[in-house]
């Protein structure tokens, strides 16, 4: 099998006329949506406790006591789920030289001149920043969250440390919502992206336009003899 530099082993051409490419395996998609649902529940329960005007959202969970009880449990499960996703995706999200060039020409992208940007592997810098942003923010939130988990860790840290944990937890939560807004909007604005996480496939045109090195490598890998 050809060396993989830009693609995952499960990525492959699944049709040629028209070209269609498998981008995410079923287990990755399930993992993604499971994490997404938990993060939505975390946002609903967390922001209910952060902003008084949203306190009514605790009703979704059966009241304030239940929302308070469930929020950290959702958090731990979401982090474990994200960890699985992280293990699958981190390698191709490492920064590369072309990311710098790509970033310097970001205005061309927004102006609709993607052809002026360098060819990319499976992820562009924006996608990588969303990935690493969520990684660091979730890590921050799970660490600070444990410190303020009254029910199970009431004496983990002193009260002054707990105050900082509350501040850091809320700032990280706000930042992660901003990252999620970028993530969701970029997926919508770049048409043809969402199917990667639903059916798991993207069109060849999409792959050629946004992730050409990835498409080329996937095709080349397929050209080489089967692994068995």
């Amino acid at each position: 099998m050809a060396d993989r530099e830009y693609s995952e082993s499960s990525d492959r051409i699944i049709a040629t006329e028209p070209v269609e490419v498998r981008r995410y395996a079923a287990h990755t998609r399930i993992n993604h949506w499971f994490t997404a649902i938990l993060i939505i529940l975390l946002i609903l329960s967390g922001f209910a406790l952060f902003w008084p005007r949203l306190f009514f959202l605790t009703g979704i969970f059966g009241g304030g006591q239940n929302a308070r009880f469930l929020h950290p449990i959702f958090g731990v499960v979401a982090c474990l789920s994200f960890l699985l996703l992280f293990l699958q995706l981190w390698k191709l999200n490492l920064m590369r030289r072309e990311d710098v060039v790509w970033a310097s020409k970001i205005t061309d992208l927004l102006a609709g001149h993607e052809e002026r940007l360098p060819e990319l592997g499976k992820y562009n810098l924006g996608q990588k920043l969303v990935f690493w942003g969520m990684f660091w923010l979730l890590l921050t939130m799970v660490a600070s969250g444990l410190m303020i988990w009254q029910q199970f860790f009431p004496d983990l840290v002193s009260i002054p440390v707990r105050r900082w944990a509350l501040l850091v937890h809320s700032i990280a939560a706000v930042l992660s919502v901003l990252v999620i807004i970028v993530h969701v909007y970029a997926a919508i604005w770049t048409r043809g992206t969402i199917s990667a996480m639903t059916s798991g496939n993207v069109t060849g045109g999409w792959a050629w336009r946004h992730h050409r090195k990835w498409l080329r490598e996937v095709a080349r890998r397929q050209d080489s003899p089967p692994a068995e």
Binding site: R12, P18, F50, R53, W189
Partner: protein, 338 residues
Amino acid sequence: MSENMAPPPTTAVSNPPVEALAPNLGDGDIVLASATPNLPPPTRQLEKLAKLIDISKCIGCKACQSACIEWNDTHPEIGVNFGSYENPHDLSSEMFTLMRFNEYEDPETGNLDWLIRKDGCMHCEDPGCLKACPSPGAIVKYSNGIVDFIHDKCIGCGYCISGCPFDIPRMSPTKHVVAKCTLCSDRVSVGQGPACAKACPTQAIVFGTKDDMIAHAEERITDLNGRGYDHAALYDPPGVGGTHVMYVLPIGDKPELYSGLPADPKISDVVQGWKGPTKSVGMAAIGLAAVGAVLHSIFTKPNRVTEHDQVEAEEMVEDILGPVETAELATPQDEGKA
């Protein structure tokens, strides 16, 4: 039930009236409520009340603790001796007040002072617990100065524990609600003073209007000054807007000696930052990002894959793979699709 509303108490020593009286504390007396930005203004202003604890008169008998347990029907755990008169070892959701004992050797005189302080909620004018609380109306402050926890609305998050500058609220590990001294709001509402003040055998704990208590404290301080306590002072810390539980401290210039009573308590800047700018700037940023995304989608063209892209992709794949039958590419799980 009589129509007569109980008069606000001006002392803890009088016995309660015989006739039934309606409570004098209601929703119209609430001046601050947690997580309630649009609280209706109070319907009247009650006279500010205060409890004054004169440490120079306290003999450490713990009658106040017993009276507190008795009145509030709490059940603190039976403790063990750990080498101090403090019992239980700390405040808890079942122990709202605690005599704290500290042995202090004055470096100047070499005298040993046995400092005893009755710890408990200070009923701040600017309560940090209420500031931190996320549950609407779970912590309220009445216009007479009493800060009270409304247990039905408490969600058990423990934010008030972080908000309090005096380390007072305690979470019940079984009921998952916080508890603390209520200043006997239930007694005050029917014209009686707090149980601890009522029980105190030396009148070290007195209760009445805040003005009366300050005047009484001044007399006590004059007396203490005459007996060699040059720094005797009233503890009514301005950093939290004053408190409705005050101390007369014989060593008034060093409040920390009294088992860590903070010299200048105030709501932590970290808590202020969390509940202030983080909330307002954070929610504004999220709102702007969401609106920005919507506007961007309306006023700009989306990034669409063109026919040209698709043709290029076909060519690239064909160049590499050669003309391949789609069926050959498909792995077993994709057969249905191919």
